[in-house]
């Protein structure tokens, strides 16, 4: 469960969200996209186009020519693995790459979607349905969302419960702006919310669904709007990976000469320790991101 704290205007977290989904398309995974504000069809129309190897090399050549020599000694690594920044002299080969590269100035062609199956959940369209899940004093939007996710996991065989439907594919779930007012939750609009348990209960049940199926999930949350920090602490404990994006827009850091090449910072608050005592901690902890014309990079 990858929990992403949105930057103030949601620009960059939205980009990360789309990268996650785009990677799913390129890898042939199934997608499940949930949103309360943007119709999933529209989100999917705006996924960045993947860069094929030979095109990538020439694109990278353009980009790096414009960049001043930087220190690339340590292999840079980010917690959410979809992009590796290669050393300047080497170009990546498909066999050693983990993840793909995308061109944010172009959208993914519809042909790529043909091969995958995708499901959507757009809250305004789901309000009429009656949830079959047993009540647990949770916000009804969350209940419906969980119901929908569970149904897809079960029907499409991602949980291996039906030996005939058993799938070897992965379901990538993306949930946008969870906790916002559009989901019917008041944790972003009040510092003494009426229902402080809905979001955490939702995450717990979602965690259960993810653990028992072949799926991975990214959620973005406008944490800068949540006044009650206790909720944030609990949400962090319930997530596997927690990444925060802090954009420099409108902040005093925008004019700080140290950050002049970058658009914001990446805070890796937590990484998972799953099936092992140790976890995969990178040596580099101070990460910043920038959005160039074609590439979103984290350094």
């Amino acid at each position: 469960l990858v929990f992403t704290e949105e930057d103030k205007y949601g620009l960059y977290s939205n980009l990360l969200f789309k990268y996650f989904l785009a990677e799913g398309v390129v890898c042939g995974h199934d997608l499940f996209v949930a949103s309360a504000k943007e119709h999933p069809d529209n989100i999917l129309k705006e996924l960045p186009a993947p860069l094929l190897d030979d095109i990538y090399r020439s694109e990278l050549g353009e980009e790096t020519a414009a960049v001043k020599t930087e220190d690339f000694q340590d292999s840079m690594k980010i917690a959410w693995r979809y992009q590796n920044l290669p050393k300047m002299e080497a170009s990546p080969t498909t066999s050693t790459k983990f993840g793909h590269y995308y061109d944010v100035s172009k959208t993914m062609s519809p042909e790529l979607f043909q091969s995958i199956k995708w499901h959507s959940f757009y809250l305004p369209e789901e309000l009429s349905l009656q949830p079959k899940m047993k009540t647990c004093n949770m916000n009804s939007a969350y209940t419906r969302l969980l119901q929908s996710i569970q149904r897809i996991i079960y029907q499409e065989g991602f949980d291996g419960s039906d030996p005939q439907k058993k799938k070897k594919n992965i379901l990538r779930i993306g949930i946008q702006s969870l906790g916002s007012v559009l989901w019917g939750d008041d944790i972003c609009s009040s510092d003494t919310p009426e229902d402080i348990h809905s979001l955490t209960k939702f995450l717990y049940v979602l965690r259960g669904l993810l653990r028992k199926s072949l799926s991975a999930c990214i959620i973005t949350v406008p944490t800068h709007l949540i006044q009650n920090k206790a909720i944030m602490e609990r949400v962090t404990n319930l997530s596997d990976t927690v990444v925060g994006l802090e954009s420099f827009i409108g902040s005093e850091r925008e004019t700080n000469p140290l950050y002049k090449d970058y658009h914001g910072l990446v805070h890796v608050h937590q990484i998972p320790r799953l099936n092992s005592l140790i976890c995969d901690v990178s040596d580099t902890k101070d990460l910043a991101f920038r959005l160039k014309r074609k590439l979103f990079t984290i350094e």
Binding site: M133, K134, T135, C136, N137, L146, Q150, H197, T200, K201, L203, Y204, V205, R207, G208, L209, R211, K212, N228, K229, A230, E233, R234, N237, L238, R273, L274, N275, S276, L277, I278, C279, V281, D283, K285
Partner: protein
């Protein structure tokens, strides 16, 4: 289990202590390696273990336990380990078919309540799991919880959580029975090990209330903290071992020892502060 930790705690699976409440606490880091230690320790000691695992799946604990030389699957099969997989139990509760169980409420029943004022179903589960059956030959019972802070996230009140622990202590740590000739017989003295999270400057008042209260009543506290100076490759954190001697004897002071540790794939090494192998 980690041999070095056993040395520091002066503990051995051959002669496990009894009647103790151990609190595992982590701040700014992940203290779950201690849970894996105690799980494998008590299974090796031949105790009957009830593990309330709220945050991770069974296979996660099993894979790690195997690296520590213990098979949870085998322990379950021979009746030594009762494992409550919280995530799975919650899914069964909310998505399961109606009344599948034979009238027994789910241990996580409280999630469905509007205001979960008691965790009775969970307590009943623990008590039933650890009550010795006629054919049992296990040593003292052990309750292990990972982690208690999750109960608050699921809607339980701090009072409900503290009550639950209190009832468990009475049931597990000191079980009295009316024996022959009407004298009270101390049946068995089990142990409880509980993990809680806590952050400094935490704004989660409910959690702080639970943690502070448990600290007061613990016999042993293992407090794991991330380094104040930030991340380090060779030293993953610091552990404070607090023996609550003040609980046993009025004039005694608690004994505090501080060590640093490094987590490896199959073991955790402990060393005095500033004496990590990388430094020497």
């Amino acid at each position: 289990m980690f041999a070095e930790l056993n040395e520091l705690l002066d503990a051995s699976p051959q002669r496990p202590e009894t009647g103790k409440f151990t609190l595992l606490r982590d701040t700014r880091t992940d203290g779950s390696f201690l849970v894996h230690h105690f799980l494998s320790f008590y299974l090796r000691a031949g105790c009957k273990v009830c593990f309330v695992a709220l945050l991770q799946s069974f296979s996660h604990y099993n894979i790690i336990a195997q690296k520590l030389g213990v098979s949870l699957t085998a322990a379950k099969e021979r009746g030594q380990l009762v494992f409550l997989e919280g995530l799975k139990s919650c899914l069964d509760l909310l998505f399961g078919e109606e009344e599948e169980q034979s009238g027994q409420p789910s241990p996580l029943q409280f999630i469905r309540e509007v205001s979960a004022s008691n965790l009775k179903a969970l307590f009943d589960f623990v008590r039933t799991s650890l009550t010795p059956t006629g054919s049992d030959s296990w040593k003292s019972p052990v309750l292990l919880v990972d982690d208690l802070s999750v109960l608050l996230s699921l809607g339980a009140t701090p009072v409900a959580v503290l009550d639950f622990i209190h009832y468990c202590r009475v049931a597990v740590c000191s079980q009295l029975k009316l024996g022959a000739h009407c004298c009270l017989v101390l049946l068995f003295q089990g142990n409880i090990v509980v993990l809680v999270h806590s952050n400094e400057d935490s704004e989660d008042e409910e959690n702080e209330l639970v943690v502070n209260s448990l600290c007061h009543h613990s016999d042993l506290i293992l407090w794991v903290e991330g380094l104040a100076t930030g991340f380090c490759k060779d030293v993953h954190g610091q552990i404070k071992i607090i023996r609550r001697l003040s609980l046993e004897l009025a004039a005694e002071q608690d004994r505090v020892q501080i060590y640093q540790y490094k987590i490896q794939d199959k073991n955790v090494t402990f060393f005095a502060r500033g004496l990590s192998a990388a430094v020497l």
